[in-house]
Amino acid sequence: MNRRLIRLPLLLLATFSFASLAIGQATQPAPTTAPATNPTTTSAVPDIQTLVDQSIAAAGGKDKILAIKNLSITGEVTVPGQGIDGTVEVYRKPGKVLMVTKIPQIGEIRMGIDGDVGYQTSDMLGARLLTDVEKKQLLAGMDPQEGLTRFSKLKELVVTGPEKLGDARAWKINGLSETGEPESHWLDVKTHQTLMTAMMVNSNGSTIPVSATFSDFKTIDGVTMPTTIRQNMGIMSMVLTLKEIKLNPELADEKFAVPDDVKKLHEQANPKAAPQP
């Protein structure tokens, strides 16, 4: 009989804090403008403008992308191999975001921006205000038009490849973010879809390399996007399966309202925001 003693694990549930990044990228079909900087390319690889044009077409075209204002997504989230899964809902309209992750026995994690205040509330952790960097990341991550200017914000762009990525071959675009962090995007040589991204993400005091792979592309209202996203942070992984994606649904502002405990935190951090007698 095995009578070894056990130590209980610290399960790494920080994973769920980063779900917004991958979901957001799933809804950004393509970069659609040339970079502001002068990209360099190695021989025999297409220039960035060509890659951009191809991915615009693959995603459904610039007009289709520009037409996306509101967004709602429902899906499932799984931590592979760990026996942990749950559901995710995402709502977005210009300047506002709400993402709700529900994990049985862990509870609900809400991350949102009401147009001004960014916050995260969790049954487990409590409430906190998002930093300006986190708010910027969340808004950009959920903005379908973010892809229009993504590469123009990167410096020192270089295209290499093609390289093998799973069963596909992809062009790799490397660049540096506004803060000087490396960022990479892999575009399928045949379909021109984004198959993978890798970048640094800031979350509550940690700056972490996060990569995401995209698959199971589907076309919704003329826009093609992935419905399976695997996100990796070091040895931790999370798989998001998007079940229902609605483009331009009606979304009331009340849906994005800040919870009461967050209001108090915001008023304490910004005394001028407190109601005046």
């Binding site: 009578r3 003693l5 056990i6 130590r7 209980l8 694990p9 549930l13 070091g234």
Partner: protein, 331 residues
């Protein structure tokens, strides 16, 4: 051996028959051996595996799977492989493992002895017995005990209610004795209730390529009165991180005896043969810069408590006396 001497949670295996060792089952065991070996090679937070010759360990132990006659034999081989790392949080355990509600040494805080036991299942962890107890002591100090960091929905709700109740008390005692850990985020959730200043942390979790900060976030109405945390040799993992973290930032005074020194963040995965494999993926560094693994948390005030663990509980008494002294000093 430190691992064997650590926690006093005995494992009682179900008494079902051991599956016959067919060729197909042996193949699953070999695949399980390889999965365990590769996971450690690829995901151990120290790429040098603390100097252990991992290839040699594989060469020595993998052939023994061919001679194994039972599933228990295989578990012994896998656990032997993991023991070469000389670290906590590396273990193989069967899928039907149950953890006894009362530890082998019989310790349950006497104040919590009559609390209801709930069996909780989470992820690939075994079913775990959970006790939670909250009360106001006669000394006007709030007391909260949790036996394991699991079921955050229930435990954090009861904990936050206990903290609210404590606003009219002189202080708060958090009893983590014999608490072997659990979901790491619960330490942050509890820590958040007590921090009064911004930019506080419970330390860092260092993986091979990534460092996570256990950032604490001041809540809208934090608890500001004295906080005492009780630990003992059975307090491990999440318990140690919470105790060490709040001690380091000067928010809690620690009472009891030195903790287990088993504070490696870990995950648990299912193996091809159906067993569960727990493995550390990070080292924990306290906000004061200390490694707890193999060291543990040293109490500010050492208080011994020996069987048969009857009332009065000297550790609770010492903590309550300190809280009273703090309260009187403030007055």
């Amino acid at each position: 051996m430190r691992i064997a001497a650590s926690l006093l949670i005995a494992l009682a295996l179900a008494s079902g028959c051991t599956p016959k060792m067919t060729d197909a089952r042996r193949e699953l065991h070999v695949a399980s051996f390889d999965q365990v070996w590769e996971t450690v090679r690829d995901q151990h937070y120290d790429p040098k595996l603390n100097g252990v010759d991992w290839d040699a360990v594989r060469a020595e132990l993998r052939p023994k799977i061919a001679q194994a006659r039972t599933d228990d034999d295989v578990r012994d081989i896998l656990n032997e492989m993991l023991s070469r790392l000389e670290l906590s949080h590396f273990a193989i355990y069967p899928p039907d493992m149950q953890v006894q509600a009362t530890p082998k040494d019989g310790f349950v805080p006497p104040l919590a002895k009559d609390s209801v036991i709930e069996v909780v299942k989470f992820g690939n962890l075994p079913e775990l017995p959970l006790r939670v107890h909250s009360q106001r002591l006669n000394s006007n100090v709030q007391y909260f005990y949790v036996s394991v960091f699991i079921n955050p929905l229930k435990v954090l709700k009861l904990f936050r209610q206990s903290v609210e109740d404590a606003r009219t008390a002189d202080g708060f005692i958090l009893d983590l004795r014999h608490n072997p850990g659990g979901i790491g985020g619960m330490a942050i959730g509890m820590g958040n209730a007590f921090v009064t200043r911004p930019n506080q942390t419970l330390g860092q979790m260092r993986q091979r390529d990534i460092t996570f900060t256990f950032a604490l976030d001041r809540q809208a109405n934090p608890y500001e009165k004295p906080l005492a945390i009780l630990i003992d040799q059975g307090s491990a993992s999440t318990s140690e991180i919470l105790a060490a973290g709040l001690k380091d930032i000067g928010r809690a005074r620690i009472f009891g005896s030195r903790s287990a020194g088993m504070a490696l963040p870990s995950l648990a995965q299912k193996l091809p043969n159906g067993d569960n494999f727990q493995y550390a993926v990070a080292n924990y560094i306290s906000s004061g810069g200390a490694t707890l693994e193999g060291v543990g948390v040293t109490p500010d005030q050492v208080v011994e408590y020996k069987p048969p663990y009857n009332l009065p509980d000297p550790v609770v008494e010492a903590a309550a006396a300190w809280i009273k002294s703090q309260s009187e000093t403030k007055r």
